[in-house]
């Protein structure tokens, strides 16, 4: 049974409709990541769940209760903001205890709860300091501490790692995940960083232009993208796309060659085929292969990204092992076949997977 549920939620800011009817079910103890490009509505969705913005239409349920019209404080949630949103004039201890103070919890209980959370996050030495005297990473830990002290029904994270440097981001990522498991929490986490989403999520919800494009496990969205948008958004380097047309015998004709065995594509149907750079394997030229001239190669370590250009001028990338990289010479031609079952076909018009 779903723990958090959004039913046909719409949000307008003036004449602009930011959310165009979002349906979403989130299970208890799940770590759900809302992922999407800037302006897709993911942060707005989170703010609606938090109650910081009123919905224009639709309903939101938390733990079976309709909270659509409730104030944030009546929803029993905690939120961690991108810019930490600590109270600048309070000490770390006061910051973390503020939620309990608002509930009129006795001071001794607040102290115990704050110290317990501080222990968990390793920030006990910082308790007497003010946020201005902390680094970004420390401030974010305090913000997380403030959230867990209250033991809410639901944790909301709004791009909490965006303001941290790369190393700290990876560390804090693991820490948030550990906390989620230890506290057995239900978490909704907003990010635009696909790596964060892939590594943290039980379920990923990919949003685009105010609607949900796809919802599923990280494997689902990576290996079976429901649309061209999802395919292009997830994965690095970005998926290669080639325009193509269906033929009568179930093949796809593209400027880079013929790809066989796609009965779902109708004759004359305009499609786009998508191949991840990692799914291109060196091969002899022939059917189901792509050939291009090596333009540039970037060595990453054991693997390398090869930039190629086909005869008709379309650019694509392939990720190859170090040994193959050493054999590839600039301006030479190289052919690749596609790993079994890893060729994605999308309708050109709707962008949907075929």
């Amino acid at each position: 049974m779903s723990y958090v549920s959004l039913k046909s939620v719409r949000k307008k800011f003036g004449a602009v409709e930011v959310l165009k009817g979002v349906y979403l079910d989130i299970g208890r103890h799940q770590f759900t990541v809302l992922l999407g490009p800037s302006g897709c509505g993911k942060s707005t969705t989170l703010r609606l769940v938090a109650g910081l913005e009123p919905v224009s239409d639709g309903q939101i349920f938390i733990d079976g209760q309709d909270v659509t019209m409730l104030e944030p404080r009546e929803r029993d949630i905690a939120m961690v903001f991108q810019n930490y949103a600590l109270y600048p004039t309070m000490t770390v201890e006061q910051n973390m205890g503020f939620g309990l103070k608002a509930k009129n919890v006795p001071a001794s209980e607040i102290r115990t709860a704050v110290h317990k959370a501080a222990d968990l996050l390793d920030i006990t030495p910082l308790l007497a300091r003010k946020p201005g005297a902390l680094s970004g990473g420390q401030q974010q830990r305090v913000a997380i501490g403030r959230a867990i002290v209250r033991q809410p029904k639901l944790f909301l994270f709004d791009e909490p790692l965006s303001n941290l440097d790369a190393k700290l981001r990876v560390e804090t990522r693991a820490e948030i995940l550990n906390l989620h498991k230890r506290l057995n929490a239900t978490t909704i986490y907003v990010t635009h960083d696909q790596e964060e989403a892939m590594t943290m999520a039980d379920r990923i919800v990919i949003m685009n232009q105010g609607v949900i494009e796809q919802e599923g496990t990280p494997e689902d969205v990576f290996f079976h993208p429901a649309s061209r948008m999802v395919a292009a958004f997830i994965g690095s380097p970005v998926m290669n796309f080639f325009d193509g047309v269906g033929t009568a015998d179930g093949n796809i004709e593209t400027p880079v060659g013929i790809f066989k065995g796609f009965p779902q594509v109708k004759a004359g149907q305009k499609v786009e085929i998508g191949i991840r750079p990692d799914d291109l394997l060196p091969a002899e030229p022939g059917d189901n292969t792509v050939t291009g001239q090596v333009q540039l190669s970037e060595l990453l370590g054991v693997r390398a990204i090869i930039h190629l250009q086909t005869e008709n001028g379309s650019a694509f990338k392939a990720v190859v092992d170090h040994e193959i990289y050493r054999e590839m010479k600039l301006a030479n031609d190289a052919s690749f076949t596609v790993r079994e079952g890893r060729l994605h076909v999308f309708d050109s018009q709707s962008g949907q997977r075929l």
């Binding site: 949630i77 810019n83 503020f98 939620g99 201005g132 403030r146």
Partner: protein, 287 residues
């Protein structure tokens, strides 16, 4: 002389002429028996003027009146200004219109404000007194009991908009995020105001208090236009006392000494307030 010093020279000369010289000259006067009626007989008296002023019941009364005025007026302006600023910030419509209307009193010269209220509050001819009389309330606004309070109210009428302006600017410059965090944390409006808004606004409040208090210490026009320090000496303020000593009784030495004593009082106040601000800026607002 280096080029950089030559650039400063004109300003240094102007400042010396209009600030340094008058201050030095009045310091010199304050140490002499300097009367405008006896300029050929100016005598060195040392600190006599200061000891006389510091023990003069008239001066002490004027200082007491001024401090009552400053505390009363600035406190009322602070409370009203903060309240109005918070209400105004939440106003969705007509905000700009009300904002500009509220500012109007600030643009009137204080002497005109004094005259205006002198007529409005006059117990026989005043419009306000007339309508209060219609509902059976009879108040002698400028009687011995109320005169200082009435002057405070006039100052509040004219200068509360200044506080509103300062606090509105302060409120609008506060980061939004801590307020959203407070909503999530479940803080009531009062707790949010007390624990989040007020501490973050404290630097602005301190500056507003300093500016208004300094200005209020110089209150003169209302007193001059309405009560002339009366009834008795109930509304005699420091500035009026100095004006009287210097330009009515021509005892410039005493007037100058009184002015310097006022500077000392104001300096003590400013240093105390600035210290209070500094201890509050420990937490930077870089959220």
């Amino acid at each position: 002389m280096q080029l950089k010093h030559r650039f400063v020279l004109p300003l240094a000369l102007v400042l010396s002429a209009v600030m340094l010289y008058p201050v030095a000259f009045s310091a010199w006067i304050s140490l002499h028996d300097y009367r405008l009626t006896r300029l050929n007989d100016v005598r060195w008296v040392g600190l006599d003027n200061y000891t006389f002023i510091a023990t003069d019941p008239g001066f002490l009364n004027a200082m007491g009146n001024t401090i009552t005025f400053v505390i009363g007026a600035v406190t009322l302006e602070l409370i009203l200004g903060l309240g109005l600023a918070i209400l105004l910030q939440r106003l969705v419509r007509f905000q700009n219109f009300i904002r500009s209307t509220l500012l109007a009193p600030m643009f009137i010269t204080p002497i005109a404000v004094g005259l205006m209220f002198r007529f409005l509050l006059n117990s026989e001819l005043g419009v306000i007194s007339h309508y209060l009389g219609e509902i059976g309330i009879s108040i002698d606004w400028f009687g011995p009991q109320l005169a200082l309070f009435s002057i405070i109210l006039i100052d509040v009428w004219q200068w509360t908009p200044f506080m509103v302006l300062m606090f509105l600017a302060g409120l609008e410059s506060l980061p939004k995020a801590p307020f959203e965090a407070a909503r999530i944390d479940g803080a009531s409006a009062w707790l949010t105001f007390r624990s989040v808004t007020l501490p973050m606004l404290r630097p602005v409040i301190t500056v507003a208090i300093i500016i208004r208090a300094l200005d209020a210490f110089k209150v003169f026009e209302y007193v001059f236009a309405i009560t002339r320090g009366g009834p008795g000496d109930a509304t005699e303020t420091i500035m009026y006392y100095i004006y009287q000593a210097g330009f009515r009784f021509f005892r410039m030495g005493e007037a100058a000494a009184a002015a310097f004593l006022l500077i000392v009082v104001i300096l003590v106040l400013v240093i105390a307030l600035v210290k209070a601000t500094k201890s509050n800026t420990e937490a930077p607002n870089d959220v």
